[in-house]
């Protein structure tokens, strides 16, 4: 784990002290709300439907047990005893009171955490593959580069008032687990002539105008990464549309000007910037890399694990579903599901946070990760400890074996909390998960990613769900549109809209019809939903979704 330097500590303390006085000045009337709002947003503080919301950065999704325990303390002392993990590897507290926020930020500072640039038109929290440093298929741990980008982008004087927010994601494996193609900049680690570098993808994004990013540079060596990123952001900073917030994101800039023109402008800017870094970034990178050295892996016999795996079906199902291959054969990457059917996707109680902190410290080399799919990860667990980890998770209601299955649903907070939402997301996710849990069908259904957003801004990634659900307000009633065939990985795709939306009461039966159709259409169990969709296309699923209109020839996809 990266450890704060004295500079980092002082910087966060100073920012917190500034924000403390800004809150005081808002409360005593010295600052108007118009003056205060950009300041609170720079520090992650939103106003939502029922209360303020504090969004805390978990840079590249990495945290240790002490940090998780502090989040639990904050949840209990200043909130309602839980936190919500998000698709950008942040945690959100839904009920903080304004006079308490400075104390919360100080408590975060005590464990090397902050809420800086989790909102506002800045470069946001840098996200990364949640299996970074552990995945068997990884070229190199991308987190050192993510930390370098975090330090470069934090309080960057040129990039504090960008045309709009700006999101960067990194992945160090051929398998893209960081959704790099749906970010303003996606960095996908690649190897060329023995040298590791990055493919640079630009102009991806979801929201009201979903776009898959385009490759602007096939290979950038690490030594040139920061000046190249700075060139991209500075070109967009000048070209980006400040006249219309819906056209301000870089995806629109790339779309309007074309990738070739943007590339030429970036390369020209890069030529000017390249030498100005003078190697300082590379010296910093070398220091940062020491913080991401792999843990001292244990060597232990695996016989007990093999026996337990062979004899205990519940444990075996959990291992098969919730663990992934580790770079060290004796280890596993454990995904802790925060998607127990009927619960709120991504939520963890303070008690659950403490249990996960304890397990991470005891069995996981003190490392935890937040995934963009709103689950928690133990990246380094020796297989001989999996039995104890599973038992401890069972005791805390955290042992649901559903990673990648239909009940492992991404859902944004929706209109239960969010001021921007047009419909609720959480109850829809709960209903779908409960429905398929009762049927005990999800292991037979296999990999199926359902993603739900409560408005067009698409925090719930609905465009890139195998089944995407978008909640809208149709004449004062919640209405849910379905998209099919989206993909968040290296074969990224925006889903196709299936047709007219469904009411909250109709949506579970609609999803059930889709799944039934898939089970009938698939060649065999080895063909996952997305593969079947790609083979047969939208038509048979549309027939399943709209049996009445299809039969009478009155289909209306308006």
């Amino acid at each position: 784990m990266y450890k704060y330097t004295q500079f980092d500590t002082d910087f966060v303390r100073q920012r917190n002290a500034q924000f403390r006085t800004q809150i005081e000045r808002r409360l005593n009337g010295s600052l108007t709300e118009d003056e205060f709002k950009p300041l609170r947003l720079m520090n992650g503080l939103y106003l939502q439907l029922h209360a303020y919301m504090l969004r805390v950065a978990i840079p590249y999704g990495s945290l240790n047990g002490g940090q998780m325990r502090q989040l639990a303390m904050i949840a209990e002392r200043w909130d309602k005893g839980y936190g919500h993990f998000t698709t950008r590897q942040n945690i959100q507290f839904n009920w903080p009171k304004l006079p308490d926020v400075a104390d919360i930020l100080d408590a975060l500072g005590d464990v090397e955490m902050h809420a800086i640039q989790t909102s506002g038109n800045t470069i946001r929290n840098v996200t990364a593959d949640h299996f970074a440093g552990a995945a068997a298929d990884e070229l190199e741990d991308p987190r050192a580069y993510a930390e370098l980008i975090r330090q470069w982008s934090t309080d960057h004087p040129e990039f504090q008032f960008l045309p709009r927010k700006f999101k960067i994601a990194l992945c160090g494996s051929p398998r893209d687990r960081a959704v790099t193609r749906a970010h303003d900049i996606g960095l996908r680690m690649v190897q060329r002539q023995g040298l590791v570098g990055f493919e640079v993808i630009v102009g991806g994004g979801l929201g009201r105008t979903p776009m898959i990013g385009k490759v602007i540079r096939e290979f950038i060596p690490p030594a040139e990464l920061l000046p190249y990123l700075e060139a991209i952001v500075s070109v967009w900073n000048l070209l980006g549309r400040r006249d219309n917030k819906y056209k301000a994101r870089i995806k629109i800039t790339v779309h309007e000007h074309g990738i070739d023109k943007i590339r030429a402008l970036v390369e020209a800017r890069f030529a000017l910037l390249r030498d100005s870094f003078q190697g300082n970034d590379q010296r910093l990178l070398e220091q940062i890399k020491t913080g991401f050295a792999p843990p001292a892996f244990k060597t232990r016999p695996l016989k007990a694990f093999d026996q337990h795996y062979g004899s205990n079906r519940v444990f075996r199902d959990w291992v098969d579903t919730n663990t992934h291959p580790h770079r060290n054969d004796a280890y596993a990457i454990v995904s802790i599901s925060l998607k127990t059917p009927g619960k709120t996707p991504g939520d963890a109680s303070a008690e659950q946070m403490r249990v996960m902190a304890d397990i991470g410290e005891r069995y996981g080399h003190d490392e935890l990760r937040v995934s963009h799919e709103q689950n928690l990860i133990l990246p380094h667990v020796h297989k001989s400890d999996l039995g104890a980890v599973h038992k401890a998770l069972q005791g805390a209601g955290l042992a649901t074996a559903n990673i990648g299955l239909i009940s492992d649903i991404i859902a944004c907070p929706g209109m239960d909390y969010c001021a921007l939402a047009t419909a609720r997301s959480i109850p829809i996710a709960q209903d779908i998960a409960k429905h398929f849990d009762v049927l005990k069908a999800e292991h037979d259904i296999g990999e199926l990613k359902v993603k739900i957003s409560g408005c067009i801004n698409a925090c719930g990634h609905h465009h890139i769900g195998h089944i995407g659900i978008l909640g809208l307000d149709r004449a004062g009633v919640e209405n849910y549109q379905i998209t099919l065939g989206g993909d968040a990985t290296e074969t990224a795709a925006i889903g196709d809209r299936a047709g007219p939306g469904f009411s909250a009461y109709e949506i579970v039966p609609a999803i059930d019809r889709l799944v039934t159709a898939y089970l009938q259409l698939r060649t065999d169990r080895s063909e996952a939903f997305l593969q079947t969709y790609r083979r047969v296309g939208l038509a048979p699923f549309k027939t399943a979704l709209y049996p009445e209109t299809t039969r009478t020839g009155q289909a209306n996809a308006a």
């Binding site: 108007t32 209360a51 009920w95 709120t344 239960d416």
Partner: protein, 102 residues
């Protein structure tokens, strides 16, 4: 022909706690929609919104919300306002929790 006016209330969030509040006839902010002043014409609504907006040391995010008058007081016309006066549907938090504790 002008559209018929839909009754309104002035609503906002409490500056310190963030809780949903409504403007009363006596220029106080109440946590209960049932105690809100119902505004029945455009001019009054505008004037009361302006009056409420000036209370910058108490509230944030002030706006007019559509309501329907009922015997028990104003009722929300839109589901967003129903959630605001009640709380989220996944936990018994927010106003619904406070109402039980009263």
């Amino acid at each position: 022909m002008a559209r018929p006016f839909i009754d309104k209330v002035v609503t906002a969030n409490d500056l310190r706690e963030g809780d949903v509040v409504y403007l009363t006839e006596t220029n106080n902010w109440t946590r209960h929609l049932s105690e809100a002043e119902v505004l029945q014409d455009e001019a009054t609504a505008k004037a009361r919104l302006a009056a409420g907006s000036g209370d910058v040391l108490k509230i944030i995010g002030v706006y007019l919300a559509d309501v329907t008058a009922a015997e028990t007081g104003p009722e929300p016309r839109h589901f967003r306002e129903e959630f605001r006066r009640t709380g989220p549907s996944n936990y018994f938090h927010g106003k619904q929790q406070r109402a039980e504790n009263v």
